[in-house]
């Protein structure tokens, strides 16, 4: 069986600089794959390109049996390839539950007319409630994102992508700014996603979380994959150690 997501020679360049340089990897159905690397390695650019936010990205991207390169972001999301943002990016004017409803509903062009006559949220409400429960936000549905603490806000961002019942979530530094207890709780939630049939591509520069959660890890540095493999191999790979220590020594 072919993998859920198959990326071949992904390339993003700005001016003369290759932010992502011929990156290839794949994510299996219900797999958890980590993408790590020091700051500026091209991790977020990778996610932007895969989720359709960089129209000029080149390379082949196959998702669930379809070639999705050139698809706009919303179409990829509708097909089950969703992402979170490093800075969460909730819809601050909507309650947490409404944020999730936005992600869980699909509309057609005639929806406007139906909605003008009937003010109900015709929603697969089960998905919204399920996503709230799965992230432990069951009691926070009526609150506004700005009223939540940082950790809960991050969870709300995760809940929003889960509410669309995705097949693959691209998580952009989900643990950034979390304290260690929150980070541990997040890790256990992430580990449970494959059991629900959701594959994960986890991007972080925090090795701890990624090594803990992922089955397969790719290490990026300056836009290139410098190492791939299961956590224990990557941990001891000399190139990885150098990329990390080198960059940290510079800081």
């Amino acid at each position: 069986m072919s993998p859920l997501l198959e990326v071949t020679d992904l390339m993003v360049s700005y001016g003369g600089l290759n932010a992502v340089d011929l990156v290839s990897f794949s994510v299996e159905e219900a797999g958890i794959v980590g993408l790590i690397g020091p700051n500026g390695a091209g991790k977020t650019t990778c996610i932007d390109a895969l989720s359709g936010f960089i129209p000029h990205a080149t390379g082949r991207v196959r998702f669930a049996g379809e070639n999705i390169e050139g698809w706009p972001a919303h179409r990829r999301a509708e097909h089950g390839l969703v992402r979170t943002f490093q800075s969460v990016e909730m819809f601050d004017d909507l309650t947490v539950r409404e944020n999730l409803i936005v992600a869980a509903t699909t509309t057609r062009w005639w929806s406007v007319f139906i909605d003008a006559c009937r003010p109900s949220y015709r929603v697969r409400n089960i998905d919204v409630e399920w996503a709230l429960e799965a992230t432990g936000l069951g009691g926070e549905g009526e609150r506004y994102p700005t009223e939540l603490g940082h950790g809960q806000r991050r969870l709300a961002g995760l809940a929003r992508v889960l509410a669309s019942r995705p097949r693959l979530v691209l998580l952009d530094e989900p643990a950034a700014g979390l304290d260690s207890a929150e980070s541990v709780a997040l890790a256990s939630r992430l580990r449970s996603l494959p059991d629900l049939g959701i594959a994960v591509l986890l991007v972080d520069h925090d090795m701890g979380l990624v090594l803990d959660v992922c089955e397969q890890i790719h290490v990026l540095d300056l836009g290139r994959v410098i190492a791939s493999g299961p956590p224990r191999e990557v941990r001891t790979n000399p190139d990885v150690v150098e990329a990390y220590l080198g960059s940290e020594a510079d800081e």
Binding site: F53, H74, E78, T84, F85, E89, F91, V102, V112, R160
Partner: protein, 642 residues
């Protein structure tokens, strides 16, 4: 910062210049200060020019420190509204403090030398070349200053990141103030020069010079002085060429008004500039606009509608004809304001073209009924459908831009529609187009009647029914997934796209709904006036209505109702007996100032401010009753203690 009042400021200064030249008195633009101060008896060109240049610089400074300093981090909409307030203010002040400026007055000693030379067989006055040369020279000087001085660098940096500039030891306030002074000075002097060359100075037309000017600025990417100056010159030359061309050829259909193409050109150029430069989604590093007014979940919709419409119905049936007129005017204004609530309030797209859409529907209804003989319910339905299509068409390029730029583009569209369509001789030209009375199932729904029966309640009830239907539809949309998607796009386009929302399609749906509502309002306005003329749907009325909608509360349905009540000629005017704050011009001036104050103090508008005040009172009452309980308990306990 895009200032829609920029040309209006220049217009005011030019008026002041010619007045100064003639009477030796400088007219001050601030209500409350003396109207005019005497400078010298017979000022020369130099004295007058320098005085007025100083006046414009000072005005720029005052405007910055009184208005825009407070709006530096405000949403684009608040800044647009403030500059609209300023525009209204300058218009009103000019009407208040200057008498009609005649052509003889304008020819008072020309500033640039007269004389002309022959170019390609066409005689061109020399001063045109001097003006063009001057514009280019100024652009080059500005370019040099902003490229090579610390001040220029710091200003450019401040436009990108104010905090960073502050950390580097520059005061963004001082930088902004200096730039405002320079910009205002240029606006003042250039309008003086233009007026002295063209021998024309019309308050409205001059203020609208801001449209081609902004078109040129957009071509320069709001960045390049030289490109902007060249684009400006290009637009001006193209406009003259078009005028020349259209007067000489005869294949252009005669119904297109003279000067229509000329005036529509800036819009076309804006569209091209934007389509080339725009992106359908903002990039990662785009600084998100700060938030628009909060859009509350509408509550008690059924009850509010019932009470309001009941009161309106009673008013229509019992009050006299002047009151009936005021109620109808308010209802129609509320309807058109609702279209802004959808597009601007819910989706965050600032459109200044809604009133023009209303006009298109109004004229189309009249045309369909009179020329094609289509009977009542069908003519307006077809007209509204056409308007919806037009809204989609205008929305198509607009989905690539956001914020201020969109406001400029839609203003361009409004001017183009007004000049090309409304002034067309096929639509009655200046005399106007008759609108036949609506009639349904044999019932006359027309507005006018003879004697005290005039302004018939039947029409009022018809308008009320339509308004309630549209009001409920908008409230329903706000509470539905469609409304949530609109608000999601407004809050964060990137996150919306990541949540599976097709952002351009969502914006287009709002453009369609909004122009449909505006169209319905335009049809009703046509039936109310019974005769439509270009003056029925001016760009200025459009600006005033958007400003009122903002004042009422742009992001809620109740805001539209408040806007309708406040509209000039509406219920508030009727309540005040029509003479609140003196002459109409004085009223305009004061409402312009009120608008600026509202934009600074209450970005949520009246309905938002009221809602917050209510919430605060509820909290306060809770606090008081809690304290009272505590006091009571303490009192209970105290006897036992003693």
């Amino acid at each position: 910062m895009v200032n829609f009042a920029h040309a209006a400021l220049g217009m005011y200064v030019a008026f002041a210049y010619f007045e100064l030249r003639q009477t030796g008195e400088l007219v001050l633009p601030i209500i409350g200060l003396p109207d005019r101060v005497s400078i010298v008896d017979a000022p020369t060109i130099e004295t007058a020019l320098i005085t007025c240049a100083l006046l414009s610089a000072v005005l720029g400074l005052v405007i910055y420190f009184c208005v825009f300093k407070w709006l530096r981090t405000a949403p684009a909409l608040a800044r647009v509204v403030a500059s609209l307030g300023l525009l209204l203010y300058f218009e009103a002040i000019v009407e208040l403090r200057f008498t009609e400026t005649s052509a003889t007055q304008l020819s008072l000693g020309s500033i640039l030398p007269e004389g002309s030379s022959e170019w390609f067989g066409v005689s061109v006055p020399n001063n045109r070349f001097m003006l063009a040369g001057l514009a280019l020279l100024v652009a080059l000087v500005l370019r040099a200053v902003f490229r090579h001085t610390r001040f220029g660098l710091a200003t450019r940096a401040a436009a990108e990141n104010e905090k960073g500039v502050l950390l580097l030891g520059h005061s963004p306030d001082r930088l902004a103030a200096i730039n405002w002074m320079v910009a205002s000075l240029l606006a003042g002097v250039s309008v003086i020069l233009i007026a002295s060359v063209t021998k024309q100075l019309d308050p409205l037309a001059t203020s609208l010079l801001v449209v081609p000017a902004l078109a040129a600025a957009l071509f320069g990417g709001l960045r390049s002085f030289v490109v902007t100056a060249l684009a400006g010159l290009g637009i001006g030359m193209a406009q003259s060429a078009i005028l020349n061309f259209t007067t000489q050829t005869d294949w252009i259909p005669s119904w297109i008004p003279q000067g229509g193409f000329q005036q529509a050109l800036p819009f076309l150029l804006i569209v091209i500039a934007l389509t080339v430069r725009g992106e359908t989604l903002p990039g990662r590093s785009t600084i998100p606009e700060s938030r628009l007014p909060n859009s509350p979940h509408p509550r008690f919709v059924g009850m509010t509608t019932l009470i309001l419409s009941g009161a309106t119905l009673i008013g229509l049936l019992t009050l006299d004809s002047q009151w009936r007129l005021a109620i109808v005017v308010s209802m129609i204004a509320a309807l058109i304001a609702l279209s802004s609530v959808v597009l601007t309030g819910y989706v965050g797209q600032i459109s200044l073209a809604q009133f023009a859409f209303a006009g298109v529907a109004g004229f189309a209804t009249a045309k369909l009924a009179v020329d094609a003989g289509i009977p009542f319910p069908w003519a307006p339905i077809i007209a509204v459908a056409m308007t919806t299509g037009l809204g989609l068409l205008v929305g198509l390029p607009a989905v690539r831009v956001r914020g201020m730029t969109l406001a400029v583009a839609t203003l361009g569209a409004a001017v183009a529609i007004e000049e090309l369509l409304f002034k067309s001789s096929a639509l009655g030209g200046l005399e106007g187009q008759r609108v036949p009375r609506p009639r349904l199932f044999g019932i006359d729904l027309g507005f006018s009647a003879i004697g005290s029966d005039n302004f018939r309640p039947a029409f009022g009830i018809f308008v009320l029914v339509v308004l309630v239907a549209v009001f409920l539809a908008v409230a329903n949309l706000r509470r539905s997934p469609t409304g949530l998607r609109w608000l999601a796009v407004r809050a964060n386009e990137r996150a919306a796209a990541a949540s599976g929302i097709n952002v351009p399609a969502t914006k287009l749906s709002a453009f369609a709904v909004s122009s449909m509502i505006a169209g319905i309002g335009g049809v009703l306005l046509g039936y109310q006036l019974e005769k439509l003329a270009p003056a029925s749907f001016t760009v200025f009325a459009a600006l005033a209505l958007l400003a009122l909608a903002y004042l009422g509360g742009i992001a809620s349905t109740s805001g539209a109702v408040i806007a309708g009540i406040l509209v000039s000629g509406g219920i508030v005017t009727q309540l005040s007996g029509g003479d609140i704050g003196g002459s109409p011009d004085r009223q305009f001036a004061i409402s312009g100032l009120a608008l600026i104050a509202m934009a600074i103090l209450y970005p949520d508008g009246i309905s938002g401010a009221a809602r917050r005040a209510l919430a605060r009172r509820r909290r306060l009452r809770q606090l008081v009753s809690n304290n009272a309980d505590a006091d009571a308990r303490a009192a209970d306990r105290s006897p036992a203690d003693s």
